[in-house]
Symmetry: C2
Subunit: 466 residues, 2 copies
């Protein structure tokens, strides 16, 4: 699965390599400033911070020589920066990233504060370090290296950074649609994913889609005394548990009718490639601190993570959750539930199936509503063409070994939009690592990967223009 | 079921009635001071408030002529006050109540602040208004009426108020045991329950017991990205839901093996009395705002509430519960679950059955622990004797109609302890009302019931001494 298409031994050009080394401290310092901005897109109280992050990024892109502007949307703004002075005939690359971050709760589980970047053991710990400010930063600074050292770029570059990736990118597809002539390009590069393992550069061949729901169960018009009312009133907490328990069968297969319909199997070559990757269930379990794995029977762990859909509880809330005992019969309950989707599934169809399923299993005596908070389509890459070839060379130059082709269980909803609207291939090349805690406390990015990523992307811009 | 054993038409003595009317404002004002103290026993950060409430009550009892002291326990203190100057041969009553209250969350659902008592529509709204500060206050002020007007009480009186009723009364039974000679009495009176309906004074014939658990499910050692890990890791939120869903069968019967073993049926007379009470499912449902009821099949609603055991979810917490969507695979989940018990069941036995059940159904890949937070035994009253007769007369004098005999679905764990240790009958006569929100936002007590309760108890002390 991992081959380089050219026989030369790729190298990072010395001038760029030296500039990146000389400016290493400043690259870190500025990234830390970026990471200190709590641009949590899901929380309206952080809207000023999210806007501040956009402005900060816009100013940085301007300062390195791009023409940049902050564009309003009905949600969080988009930063759009351009450099179009490449020689005639040079290709145009669009680099996409996001400056928004996940909420940081539970705060008490962070070793150092989520928005005060801290280096420990060669890792930068901060919310957004790997997802995605740090990875977006790789591109900004690789572009700066070219412009600072050589006064030019080998290709035209558009940088498009949104502030709604963590809440479903609702306004990005319309923005791309609206500006599709301006955004026309020969390829889209996205760094918002992880490498398979330390030292193994990776190109992503697939992403799972997403259908994210909130399920609300409403019972009596207020919380009740569980002694005075318990036993005759349908308990919204118990009703919710019983609904959630119908989402899977006893073996772990999703039991929502029609859920697996239309799934397009992955090619035998991709499945074979997966089996050749260095992966052990025992190591995976030890890292997670669990004694057994679960999920759909009949698939390997990597197949489950990359090629099979899921239905997961993301959150539960009902009644009394504080210290000690409170004998309350809760008036309501809530679950966040999301399905990861694979090619052949569609979030809108899954929404229909989920709503029909919940309607069927919801008990009398409570009102159950299912709200589709956001969705994204699954995606599968074309694994050839000049952009893919350039990436192989660039990664080998920086990491001194061939890249592997991997799947990814997460979702980057906009990938499909780029392909559909701009008719350009998308390259997903990321510098995170397993265990990076992307949506959890103690999120981190490897300092070494940050440095190698900068060099790899500096090479990529050159290679794609050859 | 409701009969008075004497043929006289009971009256509230005019001197006591007048004093209570003249002091009505002060009685309210002082109660409000009591209610303003957030003596939340479940929350250690409120320990100073809980202690302050004990001290406040102690001072009030001292000021009306009792010899009172605050007694330390390993938990919250006990207030013990005595008045022992009744004529030789007069009986001794022990009045029990509690000065601690439930937590007030969710605070945003209170119409007026939980600890700022407010009168609206003839109701005093405040946490603790009905459970149990307001009802304890009925006794304190009825005692003050006697002492203020007549300088004496018709019987000897012990007031025992604890601060741990809402968290299981752990240290009360040892306290009673330790002071059992001093607490020796002819009867125990407790006002911590509700009347069947407005205007219908009620004597309680049974209480359900309680076994309260916290169930914790631990999966991976931190919250994970649901995309990167979902589908291969056992989800603690989903695992919890599946465990909870096994607690009942499809019809609503508790499915924990052995749960119903040994239950002693209620007498046909009690069940017949229940059926004669004015109660309509349709009204009950309308008050609660639900369209259907649930629970164990084959019983009326009152039978389910008073004579049958339950298993209820009291709280759920896992993963992300804030605004919007966070694609997290939670590292852990928690449920508060409690069983209401009826005569023939024992909390320790239920704890064993619950733990065995959860162990059986818990999936591999997560660690599930069941902690028994507290328990209380169920109770059934002897419905005769001088205390019971006096109560019938007292209630008729104040409410101008015969009392009914009702059950109660809640738990007052100490009732069984009083009977067992002091060998004295226990009278449960309460002045709450249905819909009083005892453990919920907007808890209230009726001003009219407070006034009638004061008069009823003033008469009770007299009648019991006749």
């Amino acid at each position: 699965m991992s081959t380089t298409r050219r026989t030369t031994k790729p190298m990072v050009p010395a001038d760029l390599d030296h500039w990146l080394a000389d400016n290493d401290q400043r690259i870190h310092d500025e990234l830390f400033d970026f990471l200190r901005i709590p641009s949590i897109s899901a929380r309206s109280e952080h809207n000023p911070d999210t806007r501040r992050a956009a402005k900060w990024l816009n100013d940085k892109l301007t300062s390195i020589g791009f023409t940049s502007a902050v564009h309003e949307t009905p949600g969080h703004p988009v930063v759009l920066a351009e450099w179009r002075k490449a020689p005639a005939g040079a290709p145009t690359l669009l680099i996409y990233g996001h400056y928004d971050v996940q909420p940081a709760e539970p705060l008490e589980l962070w070793t150092s504060p989520a928005f005060e970047p801290t280096i420990r053991d060669g890792k930068i710990f901060a919310r957004g370090s790997v997802d995605d400010k740090g990875q977006l930063w790789v591109h900004v600074k690789a572009l700066e290296a070219h412009l600072a050292v050589r006064g030019t770029l080998p290709c035209n570059v558009i940088v498009l950074a949104e502030g709604e990736e963590e809440v479903g990118s609702e306004h990005l597809a319309p923005f791309i649609e609206q500006h599709k002539k301006r955004l026309a390009c020969d390829g889209v590069v996205i760094s918002d994913s992880a490498m398979f393992a330390p030292g193994i550069p990776s190109i992503l061949s697939s992403l799972r889609g997403l259908a994210y729901f909130e399920i609300n169960v409403e019972g009596p018009n207020s919380d009740l005394h569980s002694g005075m009312y318990g036993g005759a009133v349908v308990n919204p907490g118990m009703a919710l548990a019983r609904i959630l328990a119908t989402f899977h069968d006893a073996k772990g297969k999703v039991a929502i009718k029609g859920f697996y319909d239309g799934i397009k199997p992955f090619t035998a070559a991709v499945r074979k490639g997966m089996k050749m990757l260095p992966f052990k269930d025992t190591t995976f379990m030890r890292e997670l601190g669990v004694k057994a794995l679960g999920g759909e029977p009949g698939y390997t762990t990597l197949e489950k993570l990359w090629t099979r859909p899921t239905c997961e509880v993301n959150g539960l809330l009902s009644g009394y959750t504080g210290e000690g005992a409170k004998t309350v019969l809760p008036g309501k309950s809530m679950a966040k539930v999301s399905c990861r989707l694979v090619p052949g599934q569609d979030p809108k169809q899954i929404e229909k199936l989920m709503k029909a399923h919940v309607k069927k299993v919801a008990p009398a005596g409570v009102k159950v509503t299912v709200t589709h908070l956001h969705g994204g389509k699954p995606w599968r890459a074309e694994l050839d063409g000049p952009l893919f070839d350039a990436a192989q060379i660039a990664l080998k130059a920086a990491f001194k070994r061939d890249a592997v082709i991997v799947g990814e269980g997460g979702s980057i909803p906009v990938v499909g939009d780029f392909e559909r609207i701009l008719k350009a291939p998308v390259l997903l090349v990321g510098f995170g690592l397993p265990g990076e805690n992307a949506h959890a406390p103690d999120e981190w990015i490897s300092v070494d990967n940050l440095r190698r990523g900068l060099r790899a992307m500096a090479v990529l811009y050159e290679e794609v223009a050859k």
